[in-house]
C-alpha cells in the first residue's frame, strides 16, 4: 500500500498520483508524516501537513473523473475455477482462490466494458453489467464476474482507489441505464435497493 492508493487524484490539483507518491500534473510529492498525517510538498512551494482525512475531504471537492475511456498499465492475474481448501487440525476451515501467473498489459475502461489486454496478445472484455463484485485488497483490485470468473488487477502506475472509484461509477451508470436500480453495495455482491 502507498499514499497513491489512498488518493484517487491529487488533492491539490486533481492530477494522477503516480508511483513514488508524486502527482504527474503538478509534481507535488506526498509522504507519510507522524501517525495519520500526510505531508504534501509542491515543487518550489511550502510543505503542508494534514491528517489523511482532511486531504480526503479536500479531494472530495474535486470532481471524480467522468469521462471514458480511461487506460492504464495493469498486471492481471486470473483465478482458476478450482478453489483450494484450507485445512486446520484435519478440518476444512474455508477455501482460497488460486490465481494464475502475472500477465502485464493494459486496462481500458469504456462505458460498457473493461478491456484487459496482455502483452502476449491476449484480450478479454469484461462487460460492466456482468460484474458481480468489486473488492480492493492490500495491493490489487479483485473483480468477480457473474459467471464466477475472478480477476486480480494491480496498477503499477496509479491508484487502486482511483480504479475502484472509476469502476464503481461505471457500474452505477450502467445499472441505471438498465433500470436495475441504484447500487448500494459492491461487496460481497453488487446490489441495489
Amino acid at each position: 500500500m502507498a499514499i497513491r492508493d489512498l488518493f484517487r487524484a491529487c488533492p491539490l490539483c486533481g492530477g494522477n498520483v503516480e508511483s513514488g507518491d508524486r502527482c504527474a500534473e503538478c509534481g507535488t510529492r506526498y509522504r507519510r508524516a507522524r501517525g495519520d498525517r500526510i505531508e504534501a510538498r509542491p515543487p518550489g512551494g511550502a510543505a503542508q501537513t494534514r491528517p489523511a482525512v482532511e486531504w480526503l475531504d479536500a479531494l472530495g471537492r474535486i470532481e471524480a473523473e467522468a469521462t471514458t475511456p480511461v487506460s492504464d498499465r495493469v498486471i492481471v492475474r486470473v483465478a482458476g475455477p478450482h478453489q483450494e481448501p484450507v485445512r486446520y487440525a484435519g478440518e476444512v476451515i474455508g477455501f482460497v482462490e488460486q490465481f494464475g501467473p502475472r500477465q502485464p498489459g493494459s486496462a481500458t475502461l469504456t462505458d460498457a466494458a473493461l478491456r484487459l489486454e496482455t502483452g502476449d496478445g491476449g484480450r478479454v472484455d469484461l462487460p460492466i453489467d456482468e460484474l458481480s463484485a468489486i473488492q480492493p485488497t492490500s495491493n490489487s483490485l479483485q473483480l468477480r464476474m457473474r459467471d464466477g470468473r475472478l480477476f486480480s488487477l494491480r496498477f503499477p502506475d496509479t491508484s487502486l482507489v482511483r480504479w475502484e472509484s472509476l469502476l464503481q461509477t461505471a457500474v452505477r451508470r450502467r445499472w441505471t441505464e438498465l433500470s436495475r436500480g441504484a447500487v448500494t453495495e459492491f461487496l460481497p455482491r453488487i446490489g441495489c435497493r
Partner: protein, 213 residues
Amino acid sequence: MPVRPPEARPPGIYRLCSWIARTGWRHLAGLHVDGLENVPSRGPFLIVANHESNLDPILIQAVCSRPVHAMAKSSQFRAPIVGPLTKRLLAFPVRRYQVDPQAVRIALRRLAEGHGVAVYIEGERSWNGRLQAARPGTVRLILKAGAPVVPCGIAGSYEAWPRWASSPQLRPIRIRFGQPLQFPRLDRRSDREAARPAATSRIMSEIARLSVD
C-alpha cells in the same frame, strides 16, 4: 469432524504471538484496554469490532482473556509465511467477493462449540479512519447465531498503521469492550431481515461510542 472443547488452550504459537503483541505494544507504544470483564468467562460470544488497521485482529486476540477465532480475508491464506501462521492463530478464511457460506458455517460451528469469534462489521479496513457502514451479511450472521455480542471499539490503530501506509508507527492504542448485547437467535431469513436495521443501529452506536479516543 474434530470438536474442540471450549476451554482448550489455544496453540502455543497463538499464545506466543499474543504475548509478544500485548507486551511489545504495551511497552513500546502504549496499549490501554478497558472492559475486559465484559468478555464472557464461559460459553460462546461474538466480538464485533471496528476495523482501522492490520493491528486490530492481532491486538484484540492478544488482549482478550479467552481464545478468539477470527474471520480473515481469504487472500491472506495464500501468502507463504503469513498463510500457515494465520490459521494457527485461529483465523478462518472468508471470500469477501461473494457470499461465503463456508465462512458462515465455520463461524456458527465455532460458536456452537462454545468458542469466541471475532468479526469486523465494516468488512474491511477504513481508508480514512472513520467508522464505515455495517455489512448486512455480518449482522445476518449475528442474528443467526444468537450468541452474546461484545461490541469492541479500537482507537489509535489508524494513526499507528493506516491502510495506505506500508509499515506501522509506534502509537498508543486503546481497546474498549462494551457490555454484551443479546439478540435472539432468528432461524428464519425473513425474521432476520426484519430485525436487521434495529440490530445494526444498536451495534454500530455502541462501537461508535467505544471507539472514540
